[in-house]
Symmetry: C2
Subunit: 617 residues, 2 copies
Amino acid sequence: MAEQEDVIELAKRRGFFFGANGAYGGVAGFYTYGPNGAAVKDNLESAWRDRFTVRQGNMEIEAPTIMPEAVFEASGHLDGFDDMLVECPECGESHRADHLIEDNTHIEEAESLPISEVEELIREHDLRCPTCDAALSGEPVEDFNLMFETSIGPGSGQPGYMRPETAQGIFVEFPRLKEYARNRLPFGVTQIGPAYRNEISPRKGIIRVREFTQAELETFIDPEEDEPPLHEVEDVEVTLYPADEQEDEDGEAYTTTVGDAVDEGVIGSDWVGYYLGVAQEWYERVGVDMDRFRFRQHLPGELAHYAADCWDAESEVGAARSAARSSSGDDEEPRDEGDWIEITGFAYRSDYDLSKHAEHSGESFTVFKQYDEPKTVERATVDPDMATLGPEFGGDAGAVAEALQTLAERDPDAFDEAEVEVEVDGETHTVDSDVANFSVEEVTENGEHITPHVVEPSFGVDRIVYTVIEHAYRTDEVDGEERTYLALDPEMAATDAAVFPLVSNDDRLLDLADEVTDDLRAAGLSVEYDDSGSIGRRYRRQDEVGTPFCVTVDRDGIEGDGPDTVTVRERDSARQVRVPVSEVADEIAALLDPEDDRAFDALAASHDEIETDVETA
Amino acid sequence: MAEQEDVIELAKRRGFFFGANGAYGGVAGFYTYGPNGAAVKDNLESAWRDRFTVRQGNMEIEAPTIMPEAVFEASGHLDGFDDMLVECPECGESHRADHLIEDNTHIEEAESLPISEVEELIREHDLRCPTCDAALSGEPVEDFNLMFETSIGPGSGQPGYMRPETAQGIFVEFPRLKEYARNRLPFGVTQIGPAYRNEISPRKGIIRVREFTQAELETFIDPEEDEPPLHEVEDVEVTLYPADEQEDEDGEAYTTTVGDAVDEGVIGSDWVGYYLGVAQEWYERVGVDMDRFRFRQHLPGELAHYAADCWDAESEVGAARSAARSSSGDDEEPRDEGDWIEITGFAYRSDYDLSKHAEHSGESFTVFKQYDEPKTVERATVDPDMATLGPEFGGDAGAVAEALQTLAERDPDAFDEAEVEVEVDGETHTVDSDVANFSVEEVTENGEHITPHVVEPSFGVDRIVYTVIEHAYRTDEVDGEERTYLALDPEMAATDAAVFPLVSNDDRLLDLADEVTDDLRAAGLSVEYDDSGSIGRRYRRQDEVGTPFCVTVDRDGIEGDGPDTVTVRERDSARQVRVPVSEVADEIAALLDPEDDRAFDALAASHDEIETDVETA
């Protein structure tokens, strides 16, 4: 059974990721991707772009990471994007108050509790500083805004913030983006890029960091008209953990289809259901272990007030299953449960975002929705007698007239009475209904301005990269020696194949190694050439990087009368087969091609296999 | 002749780029890439990665954008990364003092002048506020640090900065990166990502912005051993504008080969020369117009003190040449000179960066260089008689002993005298040479620890994207109508081909359009399907986006007895040819394939051409 520390140690050793600025002691919450990690992350982002931008026909944009304060006043981040902070009176260390409660009591989701209750719980449970054990009872709990603040321009400048989500860079440009979409709903806009949260106490290594990458899709829909192509994914099986199962003591996650879950109302929005189905297939494609994966519905207390329905995709980490368990298919073996971490959020956000930006910016964030045929509608209107209003209300007369029109639209029946009341600047005025000249007109309308609703799948790229690496982590024994390998999907692996010349003092052998390398590269594969250290060491290196195939060029292959051969070794099985040089590039390309179902078995059946003894752990 | 405003207007209209946060009035210096711009930028980054990471065998990493203060104390950015600021006493607007001088006098490179001289020049020329015309004489000029500052963690936190260059994220991780390179020089590390400069007054649209993307390559070399493969690029022709030509009144840029320029010492470093050659071919590949391109050497005053030689790649913008001039090959036509903007810097940075980080962090930033054979070397050493030093120097005795060892290594001859002098804590002590027990030992060394030198090509991605778009901007007249198009290289274009069904009420025609779209996508092309508006309007849209080929599906093509045909239109010539549906995907794929030299002429020769009247502007 692999421990999370083993994965993190391998990640550091093999250039996947490591804490940044180590020479200066490091800064919690900031990680650097080494060459292999950057390659896996790039592969993951490409796979995301392929599925959620290109194949969905969406537009991808790239917006700045620093945004002005006005954006976050509108979005609500300036006021509400807070965590609860409690500072130790002894050592001065800051802690998340809700985490202290969750870690030391049976209370879950302490984040949604009011501050006063959190302070009360700290007192009640006599919670102490995890660093120095000083009592925290009586210490004030405060809201701490998680945005990184900076200043734009010289002097005192204007306040700016590192965006806490890529989404705002899309919402705020809606007025222009809708033009690129030729003003037709539905349309989707994606963005992949950095986002920032100034976490109070980053922990869990790369899982809770201060700078991370998001891949977000904002789908703008007409809620009355637009339906997702649900039929495309209705048969996709998903593991769901709905709110009621979470609230029930004996409740648990269960497997069903997207279609059934939407029909039965377990998933409240067909758009959210559609994206769960699309995403489910995508997680499988990139190598998330579906035995350690679920969709968890937000509990009522977790839901943002504007969100009608929200589900998180969660993966289980910290309880990596061994190769033995996976290959025997025996799921009965007891194991420790790991941590469930959110890797994607799926939210039906209604018109909240666009309405807020419209309200705060004064610009139009609507789309003109043309009717199939012009509609004749009744419209209540007034035509106030200004010769009466003027003398009566003086400078307020105009405002009173406007208020009458507003009233007519909102409550036309009010004008059935002899007098109506309107409010101007907090003062109530009474006006004779006759003076208003109320009437109902018939008007022809070609369409209406509507504020689109937003459906958002928001992917945490780093957490998915971590999950994919941890879920690929395996150990076994080959020819009596323990080894560790990453069973990464070829689409995710940093390198497709590695070429090893066995010795470095044989020109014919080195030429052959170059020839094989060139052939593989010409077939479009990424190839690492490694001539350093023993062959065993080179295999170990590539196994730990997750390279699917290794090609060794040795003297056996170039002696004798037959054609020159090399050995091709498959990562997961560690089996080795002798393959003629002329065939090797085509064979490996076919094995890597997801559309070609050729298996290593077939290659082994038609070529000489070298015996290897593999013992799964 | 295209004006820069036309390019910027087209960029906004067609979704290349536009000022961000427009709904809130915008913030100077921040741009958003719309879908077409993001695609061009992504293509450019892929082409860079292909050439400078993959083909060079370098490692790519991804480091955080927020870094702690200690990094920038070491790098020198905290102290020296300043611009000169003068604030208007009337309107309060901030200006770059050096720009005011350059704009209003004949002085160039005012940036390198000391502040007192800049203040004097403002007085002397009676320079005024460009915003309100108030006098600036007598106003203080101040250094303004260009890094965006933020605070990491809760409370007062620790200071952090948005990185002003991606390079520091590489330098600071050198101790780990060298392990991934198996401790062997030379090796290169690349990074593509955001960088930030809090410009005092951003101007020139997307040319001088506050958030931008860099693509940097740091090559770590042993300056005594490592040679670049100069032969690969020695015959590449480059336009050079060396320092002496810039300083000579009649001097000008001239064309030579990389090999000659290195041989003649015009380019001072063969590594810099090598990268100029590699980059030259890359700029051509991505579509920079080589008539509006040069390599300009830094003047002695511009050079950083640690840089031995530094060249900028510069492109000329703001003077787009017309299609007429480009197609007639007539370069005699007079034209206005545009602005030369730096798009890449090539610097030999010596061991400056690694030495500084070693000094400030106390960590090792060296590589152990193994000798081919162990060397026997003489090493001067002392073995001071502490029984004498102790009573004489008390608590300082240890420090005096250390100072004696340092002196022995630095100046062994000093011990020939009867007495030597050493300094401890600013105090000079005299010691009898005998007490030092000086000797020279023979020791065997297997190698030495060396601090690698750095050669850095640093690309400004956004400026290259802008250059590629502006240099591709063309106007002409097709069938009597003016049109604008972007003659983008297919590798850069956002879309490979567009498919237009002529009418929307003919099922057979729509099915055929779907078939063609699927065929093109199956051939690996990115395809836009556009059924909105007149055909003329759709052509205009795709021309302005720079889509190389448009395929129109009309009734003519499906009537009659022969096979179904569609028209294929080439962007630059606007010529149209009828091609059978069964051939269209292969033909367009061949036309787009850079390794296939098939031309549209050949297609036209073997198929029916529809007459088009094209008049270049």
